[in-house]
Amino acid sequence: MSDPAALFPTVLASSVHDIKNSLGMLLQSLEAVVERVPPEQRPGFHELAVLQYEAARVNNSLVQLLALYKLDNQQLPLNIGYHMVADFLQEQGLRNQNLLTLKQIELELDVDDELAWYFDYDLIASVIDNIVTNSIRYTHSKLLLRACVEDNQLVFVVADDGPGYPRAMLEQSDKYLLGINRSTGSTGLGLFFAGEIARLHRHGEQHGRVELRNGQCLPGGEFRLYLP
């Protein structure tokens, strides 16, 4: 008989996997439910928004847990491809369209149509998706998704007009996993994940990184992901 404690990580990973499948079905059905609500009734449909937001959050957390588990076991594959950044960002916006409508949040996309860059589509998508979901929670009325090139690096910006990141987070931006913040329930997992995924992207000696700011593009928080 194997040691139960040694089996735990594997059992955990396969359970997470299972949960994720169910959650996928749940989210898919939820999208279908929203589609059935007449469009004019969607804005401000609070309960549906809560359902969709919370389900998305659980889904994101699971995606991150699975990825970090694999990263720890050197099983997280990295597939750097060359992608059209505008298409990529547009898709991230569209994936969240129903939630944005329900919560009456205006989404602005700002990216050059011809911009293309090297990155892992799936991994960066889960990073951005997670930050977007988070911003949807805190923002007041607006969300900005921007991509541009600065100093030969691709920069993804997710900005909102909410209250901004707490000071502690801005000051210790390299130590996101500070433990659970009891008032917000935030674990910093999302930012930790983003930092790890950014670091996997390299160009020569340069590695990707994450930066947090407040009140630059919009009055609220601003997440910046640099990919060399």
């Binding site: 898919q28 750097i80 298409d87 898709e91 994936r95 369209q97």
Partner: protein
């Protein structure tokens, strides 16, 4: 955001939706209908999807990766490509419940047009499909050239995209590099791969570079490159296959086996890799690993296009070899041999070569169990089937078959098998060595050596376009080794070149005669395509004469 800027219509497109969850099939169908599609088929299993694809060519296929029992989405894609059931311009999208990168890295050579992570909604799907349609439309000329196997034209069209720095430039660069590689223009391919992988770990470019280095015969450099790829991208399993192949080339089969074991641990589902591991482990004398690998190859292969009778036979052979350790194990092994061969006989009914080899293995088992009458019957049955075969045996199979006939006491038959094969493959060292063992008369080998020398001279002259001189040497060579495939094909090709300069019908008749001498070559021989090409060309020229 509901109205979409592009004007792509899906009304005239045929869709196939493949998912094992009825709920998801329904939801996807609704989405696709909302995009305007009318012609939509649904399938719940890979098998069902493939039989649908055998009847009609779909424009767009949306397939889930995980399909429960049976084939998975990747295996469906592989089979559709291998069986040419997918048009070049068709779009195959893999839907996945989790991060798809693991799937990408495990199967770099058969990639869908896109992966899309579940859950997704209508607008996200539409955006993705629109982009894919735009891309196929923009690259339709290249697809057409590739469909016609017009490599030169395809490369030219790729160059156009690359020079204009279009949004598909990188995709075209990859296609171009792969085409150059196929044409064995290794230096040009290497240049592209190297430029793309110099400072970013782009998987296909890094892998391509190492592969090309190996193709150029620089095994030591290739080893370093493959090892570097694995260090940077440990989940890129095709890199392990390349490294194993390199180790074999460097004469280190034990290291090759270690590398493959690691790859199999990471990604246990690849049939071809399991069967490669089995072969190398057999050569290394590691019966246990070999047995396990061939067993896996058989089990995994059931649902795969890579199902291969060799794996069944090799598994049975390994099991037979292992018999003799202890009675309980032996009983289990012999049961598995019979079960494996029974499945093989059923699945490949009518294939005489397979039936013969299966009988030989049954004979070997009987001999090992001291059932001498059964062994004799099997050997007699097998030699009867041998006479009925309509094509020759490839060297590795001939060696195996001859060895079994010999063990079963049919030395004469073994000799015939080898002689037959040696005529077609007199330049194959293994066959020569084995044949020399059995054959006391070394005259045949001497003649072959002479023929190969002449063949070498002919090749040099052919390359210098001195066709008359080349023909002199080739004709001499072909007289000495009339069924040697390489020599015959070289002679035929020279005759065709000569005919183009001096259209004399007799040259074509002579050419046809030589080609007829190797007609029985195994169809899976690498040179079979060249043989067919020359045969067709000769017939065309004859008709036009």
């Amino acid at each position: 955001m509901d109205e979409h800027p592009t004007m792509i219509s899906y009304a005239d497109k045929s869709f196939l939706i493949l998912d094992d969850f009825p709920e998801f099939r329904r939801s996807l169908r609704t989405m696709v209908q909302q995009l305007g599609a009318e012609d939509i088929d649904l399938a719940a299993t890979g098998e069902e999807a493939i039989s649908l694809c055998a009847n009609r060519r779909y424009d767009i296929i949306l397939s889930d990766y995980n399909l429960g029992e049976g084939k998975d989405g990747q295996q469906v894609l592989e089979e559709l490509i291998e069986r040419k059931l997918l048009r070049r311009g068709a779009i195959f999208v893999m839907t996945t419940a989790e991060n798809s990168t693991a799937m990408v890295m495990g199967a770099l050579e058969y990639q869908p047009d896109a992966y899309i992570t579940k859950p997704f909604n209508k607008v996200a799907l539409q955006a993705r499909l629109d982009k894919l349609m735009e891309k196929r439309l923009a690259l339709a000329d290249i697809d057409q050239a590739l469909e016609k196997n017009d490599t030169a034209r395809a490369i030219e069209l790729c160059d156009r995209e690359i020079q204009s720095k279009s949004r598909y430039a990188l995709a075209c660069l990859r296609t171009k590099a792969e085409l150059l590689e196929q044409e064995e223009r290794f230096d040009e391919a290497a240049k592209i791969y190297a430029s793309l992988s110099a400072d970013r770990p782009v998987p296909w470019a890094m892998l391509g570079l190492a592969r090309v280095t190996l193709g150029k015969g620089e095994a030591e450099a290739a080893r370093k490159q493959f090892e570097d790829v694995i260090k940077q991208l440990p989940t890129l399993t095709p890199a392990y296959d390349g490294l194993a192949k390199t180790w074999v080339g460097l004469g280190e089969p034990i290291k090759a086996q270690q590398v493959l074991l690691e790859a199999v641990r990471r990604s246990p589902k690849a049939v071809l890799r399991q069967s490669e591991l089995g072969k190398i482990a057999s050569e290394n004398g590691d019966l246990e690993t070999a047995t396990r690998a061939f067993r896996q190859a058989v089990n995994l292969g059931r649902h795969s296009i890579h199902k291969n009778p060799d794996n069944y036979l090799k598994l049975a052979d390994c099991l037979v070899k292992g018999i003799g350790s202890n009675p309980v194990e032996d009983k289990r092994s012999s049961d598995e041999v019979m079960k494996t061969l029974h499945e093989l006989d059923t699945d490949y009914k009518g294939d005489k070569q397979i039936s013969m080899r299966s009988l030989l293995t049954q004979g070997s088992l009987a001999k090992k169990q001291n059932r001498s009458k059964d062994a004799e019957n099997a050997a007699v049955g097998a030699s009867k089937l041998l006479k009925e075969l309509d094509s020759g045996l490839a060297p590795s199979i001939a060696l195996e078959v001859a060895e079994k006939f010999q063990t079963l006491g049919k030395t004469e038959v073994a000799r015939d098998v080898l002689q037959n094969c040696a005529e077609l493959y007199s330049d194959n060292d293994q066959i020569r060595a084995k044949f020399a063992e059995l054959e006391t008369d070394s005259n045949v080998m001497k003649q072959t050596d002479q023929a190969l020398n002449l063949n070498g001279l002919g090749i040099t002259e052919f390359e210098q376009k001195k066709y008359d001189d080349a023909l002199l040497h080739f004709r001499e060579a072909v007289k000495l080794a009339p069924r040697n495939i390489s020599i015959v094909l070289n002679t035929a090709q020279t005759l065709v070149e000569k005919y183009r300069l001096q259209p004399d019908a007799r040259l074509l008749t002579e050419c046809q005669g030589y080609l007829d001498q190797v007609r029985s070559m195994p169809t899976d021989d690498k040179r079979y395509k060249r043989f067919q090409g020359l045969l067709q060309l000769t017939q065309q020229l004859k008709q036009a004469h």
